[in-house]
Amino acid sequence: MTFPKTAILGVGLLGASFSLAIKKKKLCSHVTGFGRSRENLERAKSMGILDIVSPDPASACRDADLVLLAAPAGSFIELIKQACPAFKKGAIVTDVGSVKGDLVHELEELMPPGVHFIGSHPIAGSDRSGIDSAHADLFRDALCIVTPTERSDPPALKNVMDLWASLGSKVLAMGPAQHDRVYAAVSHLPHLIAYAMVNTVSDIDKSYLSYCGQGFRDMTRIASSSPDIWTDIALLNRQNLMEMIALFRENLNRMEEHLRTAEADALRQEFIRANTARGDIGQD
C-alpha cells in the first residue's frame, strides 16, 4: 500500500501532520496541497510539508492516488464537487473530519465510478491549529475511527485502515451514525462546555481568569480550539449535540438540587459515580 501522489485539501495541523507522517513512512513520493490561503501553502512548501502548491482543488487531485480532506468539515462537499472531475480511477478519498453521519453518504454519492470514499476520524486534534504545530508523529498511538457503510469498497477500506495503522494509529471501524453519537458525547459536548465555561467565568468578571489554577486550565484547554473548525462540527452534528446538552443539563440540575437541599450524601454519590467511571478510561 503506497500512494505515490497524495493530495491534501486543507493544509492545517492535521493535513500538514499527515503529509509529514506519510513522507516519513515513505508511503508517498510527492504531496500536492490546496487551501484557502496561498501564503500558508507557500510556507508549507518551504517547510517541506508540500511538494507542489496547487491553485485549485482539481489540479491538486489530478492523478492523485490518495486524496485527504483536511479542511473544516463544512467545506468538504464543495471541495469534492470542484475536485472530482480530476479524480483518477482507483483513487481513494478519505478525510480527517470529526463528523461523519450524512456527510459520509453525501460524499460517497459524489464519487465518480471507480473512486472510493472511506471516512476517517483520527482522534488527534489539538487546541493548537496550523502548520507550525504539525509533526510527523501526531497520529502515533492515537485512535482512528474509520466509518464504512454498506457501500464501502472492501479493498479501499483495507487500504485506508492499513494507512492509519502504518502511521501508528489504533484503527477501529464504526458506522457513521454511531460514530456521531459517540463523539457528540465524548468530544463535541466537552468542547461546547469548555467554551461555555470560559465564557461564564469571563462574564462574571474577566479578572477572575487570572486566578485560575490547573483544574480550570485542564477543563478548558480545548476552549482554545479553532472556532472555524468547531462551528462546522457543532452544526453538522447538531441533533446529537442538542440531545447531549439536554442530558448534561439533567446532570447539572440534579447536582443543583442536591446543593439546594444540602444533601451531602447524594452529592458525594454523584462524585463517586464519576470517579469510578473515569477510572475506566485510564491515565491521561
Partner: protein, 341 residues
C-alpha cells in the same frame, strides 16, 4: 450485484438484453469484451437491487455468473483481504497448511478428570485443550459449569501438557476473569448475535472462535464476525457446529457446505465442530474426516474419559482411544487434500 459475467459464446442480443435490463433499473452498463468472456459492470447504486432481481440476472440467457461486490460485511470479506488470515496462538498457527485439532470435555468437571483427558488428547496429537467453565445449558437446572474454578483447572492442565486452552464466554461481566486464563475465547452458538458480547470480545486482544448460531445464515454469521473485527480484534475464526433442520436422526445438521462457502466469502479461518454437529458419538469421526476434506482449517472435538458419567453432552463425546484412532485416520484425509494434521 455489480458484475455480470457472460460466456464466450454470448451473442450480441444476449448482451443487449442484459444492458436493457440494467437500464430499466436505473443502472448503467459498462461492457468489456475479452476473448474468454464478456464482463458487464453495473454502474450506479446497486445496493438497492434485491436478491430476487439478482437471481433474474443470473437466469438470463448467456449469463455464467453474477458477482455482487457490495456485501454488508467488509472487514471479514475476501475482497478486504485476499490472503487467508493465519492466527497464531502460543506458536500454533490456525489457518495455515497444518490443521490443529482442539479436543477436550464439553464441560470442566474436576481437576483429575480434566488433567487425565488433557494428557490423553495431547498424546493422540491434539494441539489445543477445550473445556467449558461457564456452560450455556438449555435447562436452568442442568449443570452450569464450575466458573473460575474451572478456568483454574484448565490453566493447570495447560501447565502440565503445554496445550493452549479455549473456553466459552457467556456474559460480558466474565470478560476479565476469562481473559486472565484462556488463550482463545469461544462465543457459543446461542450467543452468536449477542452484540454486546461481540463488541466486548472485539476489544480484547485474545483470538475469538465464533460459533454459528443454530438458525443463522452465513451472512448473519459473518456480520457477527464483523462486529468483533470492527472493534479492532481481527483474530476471529468461524466455527460451523450444525444448524437446525427438520432432520431428527442427528442432533443438528452439520452444514459442511458452509466450509467452502466461507472460504470463498471470507479470509478468516474456518473450524468445524463435528461433535455438536451430529450429537452422536458414532457419527463424529466420519464428519470430522469430511470436514477436513471440505477444507476446514481446524477441528474442535469433544473427548471424555468416561462419557457415560460426563456431566454434559456425554453421548457425543469420543473416548480417548476413539479419538486417538480418529487422529490417525485424519492424517491420510489431510494428506489427500494437501494439508497436514
Amino acid at each position: 450485484m455489480d458484475i455480470i459475467v457472460l460466456g464466450a459464446e454470448a451473442t450480441e442480443e444476449e448482451i443487449r438484453h442484459i444492458v436493457k435490463k440494467l437500464e430499466s433499473r436505473g443502472l448503467q452498463a459498462h461492457i468489456s469484451k475479452g476473448t474468454e468472456r464478456t464482463i458487464i459492470g453495473a454502474i450506479g447504486d446497486t445496493s438497492k437491487v434485491t436478491e430476487e432481481e439478482e437471481d433474474s440476472f443470473r437466469a438470463a440467457p448467456g449469463v455464467e455468473n453474477v458477482v455482487r461486490i457490495v456485501k454488508p460485511y467488509k472487514l471479514a470479506s475476501r475482497e478486504f483481504q485476499k490472503e487467508n488470515t493465519v492466527i497464531t496462538v502460543r506458536g500454533i498457527p490456525i489457518g495455515g497448511k497444518k490443521i490443529p485439532v482442539m479436543a477436550g470435555p464439553c464441560a470442566v468437571e474436576n481437576r483429575t478428570v480434566l488433567t487425565n483427558i488433557a494428557e490423553k488428547v495431547k498424546a493422540a496429537g491434539a494441539t489445543f485443550l477445550r473445556g467449558g467453565a461457564f456452560k450455556p445449558r438449555t435447562s436452568p437446572y442442568a449443570f452450569q459449569g464450575l466458573g473460575e474454578e474451572g478456568l483454574q483447572y484448565l490453566a493447570e492442565a495447560r501447565e502440565k501438557t503445554g496445550l493452549p486452552i479455549i473456553t466459552e464466554i457467556m456474559d460480558p461481566r466474565d470478560m476479565d476473569v476469562i481473559n486472565k486464563y484462556t488463550d482463545i475465547i469461544q462465543i457459543g452458538a446461542r450467543n452468536m448475535q449477542n452484540f454486546r458480547l461481540l463488541l466486548e470480545v472485539g476489544s480484547s486482544d485474545k483470538p475469538v472462535l465464533l460459533k454459528r448460531g443454530l438458525s443463522s445464515t452465513i451472512k448473519e454469521w459473518l456480520m457477527s464476525a464483523e462486529y468483533i473485527m470492527s472493534r479492532g480484534n481481527h483474530n476471529v475464526m468461524l466455527c460451523e457446529r450444525g444448524i437446525r433442520t427438520f432432520e431428527t436422526a442427528t442432533r443438528n445438521t452439520l452444514d459442511l457446505s458452509a466450509v467452502p462457502v466461507l472460504k470463498e466469502l471470507t479470509h478468516l479461518p474456518v473450524v468445524v465442530d463435528p461433535s455438536h454437529g451430529v450429537g452422536k458419538r458414532s457419527l463424529v469421526a466420519p464428519m470430522a474426516k469430511a470436514a477436513i476434506a471440505a477444507g476446514a482449517d481446524a477441528l474442535i472435538i469433544e473427548v471424555h474419559t468416561n462419557p457415560e458419567e460426563a456431566m454434559s453432552d456425554g453421548d457425543q463425546s469420543l473416548k480417548p482411544e476413539q479419538f486417538a484412532q480418529l487422529m490417525k485416520e485424519l492424517k491420510s484425509v489431510a494428506a489427500a487434500v494437501g494439508r497436514e494434521i
